[in-house]
């Protein structure tokens, strides 16, 4: 799976609690992305990173923050989880623009 590990793979959390998802890569790729996948919406971009400490917002960034302190790790934080953030979250990496992206196995998050 192109050296991408997402953790945890499954999580149930309560409304209002903070949650952090981790994406770890061993490919030394420059670009890292966080997507969420919901029925009827396909994959929507939350945030992405184009280098260490360089991040930008995607289509659905409200309620999420990210950090990238080193090349291999990209963290997604839900500052105060809501039920609308129940989803499957995917991390993706790619080496450069106009190249294919490789995806992790996903994290299924349930906010109750």
């Amino acid at each position: 799976d192109a050296g991408i590990t997402q953790s945890p793979r499954h999580k149930v959390t309560e409304t209002g609690t903070p949650v952090t998802l981790r994406c770890h890569q061993t490919e030394n790729h420059r670009y890292m992305y966080w997507y969420r996948q919901d029925p009827g919406h396909g994959l929507r971009l939350i945030h992405y990173s184009y280098g260490v400490k360089d991040t930008d917002k995607g289509e659905v960034s409200d309620g999420y923050s990210v950090s990238r302190s080193k090349t291999e790790d990209f963290l997604l934080t839900l500052e105060s989880a809501t039920s609308s953030q129940t989803s499957v979250y995917f991390c993706a990496i790619r080496d450069g623009l106009n190249t294919e992206a490789f995806f992790g196995q996903g994290t299924r998050l349930t906010v109750v």
Partner: protein, 112 residues
């Protein structure tokens, strides 16, 4: 965000027949396109890509066609097999962006 849509949300084909999955995109400045396959419970998997300076690209049993005039992309799968049953996504990368955008997906079912 960008508009990347699919003409048909579901497609059923007989085993051995050819499959054609269509995708429309809205940004004429996009110069790179990717097709992904997603099996249940897994992350998207890269199938094939094409750049805007090409009209056609072939892989193993798959062909991608790009019609820039009508902003249309298609994925052809030859001799469809049961293992091809999955959801297929197209994605586009605008020439000026670090991001890539996904359509909502087409679910392909292969009937034995």
């Amino acid at each position: 965000g960008e508009s990347v849509g699919l003409h048909l949300p579901t497609l059923s084909v007989q085993e051995g027949d050819n499959s054609i999955i269509n995708c429309a995109y809205s940004n004429s400045a996009s110069d790179y396109f990717i097709w992904y396959k997603q099996e249940s419970g897994k992350g998207p998997q890269f199938i094939i890509d094409i750049r805007s300076n090409m009209d056609k690209r072939q892989g193993q049993r798959v062909t991608v066609l790009l019609n820039k005039t009508v902003k249309h992309l298609s994925l052809q799968i030859a001799a469809t097999q049961p293992g091809d049953s999955a959801v297929y996504f197209c994605a586009e990368n605008p020439v000026t962006g670090n991001q890539f955008y996904f359509g909502t997906g087409t679910s392909l079912t292969v009937i034995p």
